[in-house]
Assembly symmetry: C2
Homo-oligomer: 306 residues x 2
């Protein structure tokens, strides 16, 4: 059940209509690792600069996140992203991006990671994602890939190559439309699954997520929340919950993927309650179980009454 996670570890500076963060720790790989480690040990592949706090690395190690695959470039700086969310909290402007160590990132898969059964490719340069897949001597049981519109704009060929190699693709609704060229999400799903992935997850933020496979579809709602404080990392946390549950249960059936999406949605609902990783690193099993029970109440109806 060995889970390997690839993704950025970064600094973020976030502005929302409700507040502003200092430069805080973020990055897709960071969110995925914090989240997935609630369910299963994680073997992390990433890169940071000498400015990345040792205390952050130690905290992840203490959570059973193996950092052997994390390169530390002592004389370079960590990837930095700064953004501002609009009132709807679904759209945002990037204010600043400093690639820093990510600019020449060549991921190296340690020998001790070759037992990888589950591979989670967090949003990153498609060629880096591909490099990790090709370095693995045995193909994992399940490869899940997250990506974003940015790569569709500057590296579509590389992106399509990576997409053709994975089992599950995760994108949001506008990215699914962009990738397929079709406004209808149902038709978009059909087009994208022809590109390679047997499963497609379309994330719709506060409107939930859809899982497509062959002619089947499953829908998981987002938990209606009084306040969304900071959506940064919600998609990565969703991915971490999904893949953490799959790896923990060692079950890649469609039925179990449904449950995994509910777990991902529940974890994402914690993430947005505070700035950055603050909430997701503090959550415990009791809280997770209670939140999952809320999801059951949210969607469960008595079929016999129909």
């Amino acid at each position: 059940m060995s889970l390997v996670v690839v993704g950025s570890m970064a600094f973020d500076a976030i502005e929302t209509p409700f507040g502003k963060s200092d430069k805080i720790v973020g990055g897709a790989g960071t969110y995925i690792a914090w989240c997935a480690s609630n369910f299963t040990p994680v073997k992390q592949i990433s890169i940071v600069g000498g400015d990345f706090p040792q205390s952050e690395l130690d905290a992840l190690t203490a959570r059973n996140v193996n950092l052997e695959g994390v390169q530390i470039k002592k004389n370079e700086k960590t990837f930095f992203w700064s953004g501002r969310y609009h009132m709807d909290m679904n759209t945002r402007d990037t204010l600043e991006t400093q690639l820093n160590v990510l600019e020449n990132f060549q991921p190296v898969v340690p020998d001790s990671y070759q037992d990888c059964e589950y591979l989670m490719l967090g949003n990153l340069v498609p060629a880096v994602q591909t490099s990790v897949i090709t370095q693995l001597k045995t193909r994992p049981k399940l490869i899940v890939m997250d990506t974003m519109n940015f790569w569709m704009e500057i590296a579509m060929d590389d992106l399509k190559k990576t997409i053709s190699m994975v089992d599950v693709l995760m994108v949001n609704d506008s990215e699914a439309r962009q990738l397929s060229g079709d406004f209808s999400l149902v038709r978009a799903a059909g087009t994208i699954m022809k590109m390679g992935p047997k499963y497609l997850i379309i994330k719709k933020g506060e409107h939930g997520a859809l899982l497509f496979h062959e002619d089947k579809v499953f829908f998981a709602p987002a938990l209606p929340l009084e306040d969304v404080f900071d959506p940064t990392g919600a998609g990565d946390t969703f991915a971490g919950g999904f893949m953490g549950h799959i790896a923990k249960t060692n079950d890649i059936s469609f039925e179990n993927m449904k449950t995994a999406i509910i777990v991902g949605s529940a974890m994402a609902s914690f993430c947005v309650e505070k700035f950055g990783t603050e909430r997701i690193r503090a959550v415990d099993k009791t809280e997770i179980d209670a939140r999952l029970a809320e999801f059951v109440q949210l969607v469960n109806f008595d079929i016999s009454l129909v």
Copy 2:
């Protein structure tokens, strides 16, 4: 289990990015009656002009829709609305409105309707909705009200009075925000339920619907469709399915309201497949049962796997 429906019967002319209709029969009351009559007999209250086709009235009568409460103004014209949908099919512009018979509509509740147990107030002038409530000598077991932003803009005081008299209010997400003055739908729900209704249904179009009651919330998805052909009447059809199921089962528990929302969502998913009432008047029990089974598949997951 007597169900009384109040709502407009009208002519519509509809443009979508995919086509254009002639002047066709529409109106909230029409959609509700066609839909609810799949589940239970309907006693209709409305008003039409001499230009409204007798064949349409006969077709409703054949469906067990009692038209004693429908006034026919032989020398006047039926309400007419014309609109154009945008590409997203969630927003539309009104091109023309001719109030005609609706301008001076004074609803009269026939004596034979006084056994009303379930009252569905379709979107209409709030004062007309109130008039029907006050004409009923015995308060119905459940009063459900649909309304829209238009009345919030021109008749907010009347609207709030009607809202204070009903059990269940249905609005869409932007209307819930407008009515409550709160962007958060969870907080908006709390505010609106303090205005009177013990239950609030927030319709989110392709993103499904939320049912709020006290501190409980239930979510019903919309069925992901390849194409939405014409969204006109989808909200009214949803209301008809919801209230039709409640009246048929004679059960106003929260649990049964959950099922009723699934029924409403299933019926609305038919409505949008063709222009106007074409699809909803043709649907049969076998199709409805199959669609309900699709909804079960769409949201049902194995709790034991969590």
